[in-house]
């Protein structure tokens, strides 16, 4: 395995010249999603041959590129500035996380899963923990406080992820000061996470059975400080971006996708909502206690990049609304289920009780055993539906751990959205899809 001598050519994975493609693949790269009739397909092929091969140019964007949101490589076939075909090539961040997941115990699984979508790590941990709890059969017994704490952290994570979207979207389109503003807000949320979980990112805090620790004293004031500082700042960003003619010109009508196409491609999250389909797992297939909360699902109309920007912008406001309700209703109680086989005992008890010491030892070295079975659990992450499919063979390691990453599927919408647009719009499209390559490649 000679790493250095291998070149950067990826053979069949790259955008090949038209003569080397099957008709089906050409249609896919050209961005036709739905089945066309024979006549329509022939017509499309005819239109394309207006641009003979020597007038088009295949260029490569990435994998190292400031605007590709991580190591995404895009090969574009251009005619002048217009994009004719597009093919994303991924795998530059493939970490073998699903394989690693089979070697780690269920307690350690959170550390692995959390690094997939590194912009909303708590959501990854949440879906993994929920899948494990379902396999264990304890998903109905999680204490109330743990459930509400999970919702609080999940919504704060949604806010920080969308703030980062605003920052990177702004920077990609040229509003570089938005990068600094978005990060300024995000720092407040990250500081709160550091106080609660110990880490700014990749927390490994939501674990099967509950959470790793309780909320520290004074948390209400910290959350209120975040919530009270945000609305005025969001107004500022509205003035900076939403109404501005340049912003609108660059985003409106760019990267249009229809509802039928989005559903056919499996796109979820803001992409699906921008087409007018009001699908949000928090409301339509509620998990935790989202059915007891009052919030709106933001839906777009035109399916373009501007709609996706507005949806994410307003989802920050909706998340704030949810967090206010959680603040009022947070119950007291345990932060994790009191099941000796699953959750470790409090550290003080280890000095007193031999049984507690043994349980602690077993849980952290061997891990707890999960009964045989297979389960798929999905939640709404800031990018769409994130699902975790676990097959258990009765031992303390998952037999198969698969995460259905929303960005992996959303990237398939990119060839469709980019076709016919300019190269500059390609950057806007990538930014509006908001992929996180950690979860694309896993």
């Amino acid at each position: 395995m000679t790493v250095v001598s291998a070149g950067t050519a990826e053979g069949g994975q790259e955008l090949l010249s038209r003569s080397e493609l099957t008709a089906k693949e050409l249609l896919r790269e050209v961005g036709s999603v739905l089945r066309l009739s024979e006549a329509e397909a022939a017509l499309l092929a005819e239109v394309e041959t207006e641009a003979p091969e020597d007038q088009t140019m295949i260029i490569n964007m990435g994998p190292q590129h400031p605007s590709t949101h991580g190591v995404l490589r895009l090969m574009l076939e251009l005619q002048g500035e217009t994009v004719l075909r597009c093919k994303p090539i991924i795998g530059y961040l493939h970490t073998g996380m699903e394989k690693t997941g089979e070697a780690l115990t269920y307690m350690q699984g959170g550390t692995n899963v959390t690094r997939m979508d590194y912009l909303s790590p708590l959501n990854n941990e949440l879906v993994f923990s929920m899948a494990v709890e379902k396999l264990l059969g304890i998903d109905g017994d999680i204490p109330e406080r743990a459930v509400w704490m999970r919702m609080l952290l999940s919504e704060l994570n949604r806010m920080s992820s969308h703030l980062l979207f605003l920052a990177t979207n702004g920077m990609d389109l040229g509003a570089v000061s938005m990068m600094l503003y978005g990060w300024r807000e995000r720092e407040d949320v990250l500081r709160f996470f550091q106080k609660v979980t110990g880490l700014r990112m990749n927390h490994n805090f939501i674990r099967p059975g509950g959470l790793a620790a309780d909320l520290p004293s004074g948390w209400r004031d910290d959350v209120l400080a975040i919530l009270e500082g945000l609305p005025s700042r969001l107004e500022e960003y509205d003035i900076l971006m939403t109404g501005q003619p340049i912003w609108r010109e660059r985003l409106q009508g760019v990267g249009v996708i229809t509802a039928q196409e989005a559903i056919a491609l499996g796109a979820t999250g803001p992409i699906l909502r921008s087409t007018g389909v009001a699908w949000d797992l928090r409301r339509d297939m509620p998990y935790l206690h989202y059915d007891e909360l009052d919030f709106d699902v933001i839906v777009g109309q035109y399916g373009d990049a501007y709609d996706r920007y507005s949806i994410r912008f307003n989802e920050i406001r909706e998340s704030m609304r949810i967090v206010y309700q959680i603040l009022e209703r947070m119950p007291s109680g345990d932060f994790r289920i009191q099941n000796k086989k699953v959750t470790p005992p409090p550290r003080a008890r280890i000095d007193e009780s031999m049984e507690a010491l043994i349980h602690h030892f077993k849980i952290f070295t061997e891990g707890f055993k999960v009964p045989e079975g297979e389960v798929y659990v999905a939640i709404e992450s800031p990018r769409g539906e994130i699902g975790c499919y676990i097959v258990s063979d009765g031992s303390s390691n998952p037999y198969r751990m698969h995460v259905r990453a929303p960005s992996f599927v959303n990237i398939q919408t990119m060839p469709h959205m980019m076709r016919g647009g300019l190269v500059a719009d390609a950057v806007a499209v990538i930014s509006s899809v908001d992929p996180v390559l950690g979860e694309v490649d896993r």
Binding site: G70, Y92, H94, K99, W183
Partner: protein, 193 residues
């Protein structure tokens, strides 16, 4: 002229050392350490913390590094932020080769320094297998303070001339050569258990 030819051939090392040239060299090192620009090589989670370090709260601009040049030709420090997969390794080497001398590498995070928690088939176990690293910053991800400490350590090394001395002693760190035999020695037979 002899002096000019020496400089053309060997750069700073070609100047005969006297009081004036030593001052000039100090000036150059001082300037280099305070205005080094980073090449953006953000790969994964560490990239987010790197962006956070460049943002307003942990301002990197006060160290002269707020500009992250996308083009490696214009960059001095490559901060490898994140896990390097097998597919990405040749790209990393290519970008490193495209950078102009003098260039330095900070390996940010445990995944870049040693493979991190991912000791498996997909991740290169430390970017020092591919590029010579000057400073390692541990953490998963390193907090912005850790990254700033790493950057400042590097700046101090540049200013002292320590790095240039080390390079000269090691026959130029940039000349890392991985022959196929060497690479074969460090690889693991994959595919059989």
């Amino acid at each position: 002229m002899g002096v000019v030819q020496n400089i053309v051939d060997d750069g700073l090392g070609g100047m005969d050392h006297n009081f004036v040239t030593a001052r000039v060299e100090d000036l150059v090192k001082w300037a280099r350490s305070r205005s080094s620009w980073g090449a953006s090589f953000g790969l994964a989670c560490c990239a987010i913390e790197m962006m956070g370090t460049g943002a307003s709260h942990y301002d990197l601009s006060r160290f002269g590094m707020e500009v992250f040049r996308a083009s490696p030709r214009q960059a001095d420090i490559m901060i490898v932020a994140g896990r390097v997969s097998q597919k990405m390794a040749p790209v990393l080497r290519q970008v490193y080769d495209q950078m102009m001398e003098p260039k330095w590498v900070i390996s940010m995070g445990v995944c870049a320094s040693s493979g991190g928690m991912f000791n498996n088939y997909a991740i290169v176990q430390g970017v020092d297998q591919i590029v010579p690293v000057d400073v390692y910053a541990p953490g998963c991800p390193p907090t912005p303070e850790t990254l700033i400490h790493a950057i400042e350590t590097l700046h101090q090394l540049i200013e002292d001339g320590e790095i240039m001395r080390r390079r000269a002693a090691n026959n130029g760190g940039a000349g890392v050569e991985l022959s196929s035999e060497l690479a074969a020695h460090t690889s693991v037979t994959i595919g059989t258990k």
